[in-house]
Amino acid sequence: MNHFRMEILVKPRPGLLDPEGKAIHHALRSLGWTDIHDVRVGKAIYIDLEAEDSVTALETTEAMCRKILANPVTEDFEVSVVGDTERITA
């Protein structure tokens, strides 16, 4: 088995209301950053796990997303491997 660090980005689905993004947009604008078109806020989840290889690691993580990490009604997700054994133990 090998170690992998997985990064999961969970984002509000396009078109759905994102109150947090809206509020941040508003705050940034009033701080003088006026050249912003849109702000969306999601979650970044990092999971350190053991798996045979990176393909299995990805599959497992995607299964987690479908099962619980993302809400299919409101969210999309993206999964990637951001670290393997060496980088994690470092």
């Binding site: 209301l17 109150p19 947090e20 619980i68 809400n71 009604v73």
Partner: protein, 232 residues
Amino acid sequence: MRVGVVTFPGSNCDYDLYKAAQQVGADVEFIWHRQKNLDGYDVVMLPGGFSYGDYLRAGAIARISPVMEDIVGFAENGGPVLGICNGFQILCEAGLLPGALIRNVSLRFESRDVHMLVEQTETPFTSEYQKGQILRIPIAHGEGNYEADGQLLEQLEAEGRIVFRYVNRGGEMTEEANPNGSRNSIAGLTNESGNVLGMMPHPERAMEEVLGSVDGMGVFLSLAANLSTVVL
């Protein structure tokens, strides 16, 4: 009427719900979230609170509790299920109710009295109310913003599944009267067959004059009225 009130780790309105059901004469028991058998209950209630701290998304982790499988079965067999606040969030996460509850537009926890309009009285939860009645009931939540796509909203409206709506004191649907930004000012809705109700406001907190309102009693009286006839 035999009522089961489910306790998840982090539920904090379970006791309040227990007392409210007891007040209308129900025989009430707590159901621990790991319990696997719902035989003998006439109604199952999912209380408010912060099951699993509301971490990840409100209701997301509670949804995988062992008891939920049986609750899904119970609901599919027509058993009445009432979810209040966090209970509503869990029902949405579990797919027993459509849509999702996301963060309040204010991004703040909102705790105060709201007014809501009773739109549907043909449900086991609201038969003791008058259609058009305006209730004053406390809310207390950070994620009560009901979100659904246009198609679903149309369907909910067309099927008359919106039971409660946020209004002002005069009964008008306004932006200020909507405490969390919910689509169509939805405060409570049912599933297709009408036996599952989710609502953000807390009727169990409006059961006695000393607490400021008795407008929540109708929910429990309705259940008692409907279910005692079934039992007898």
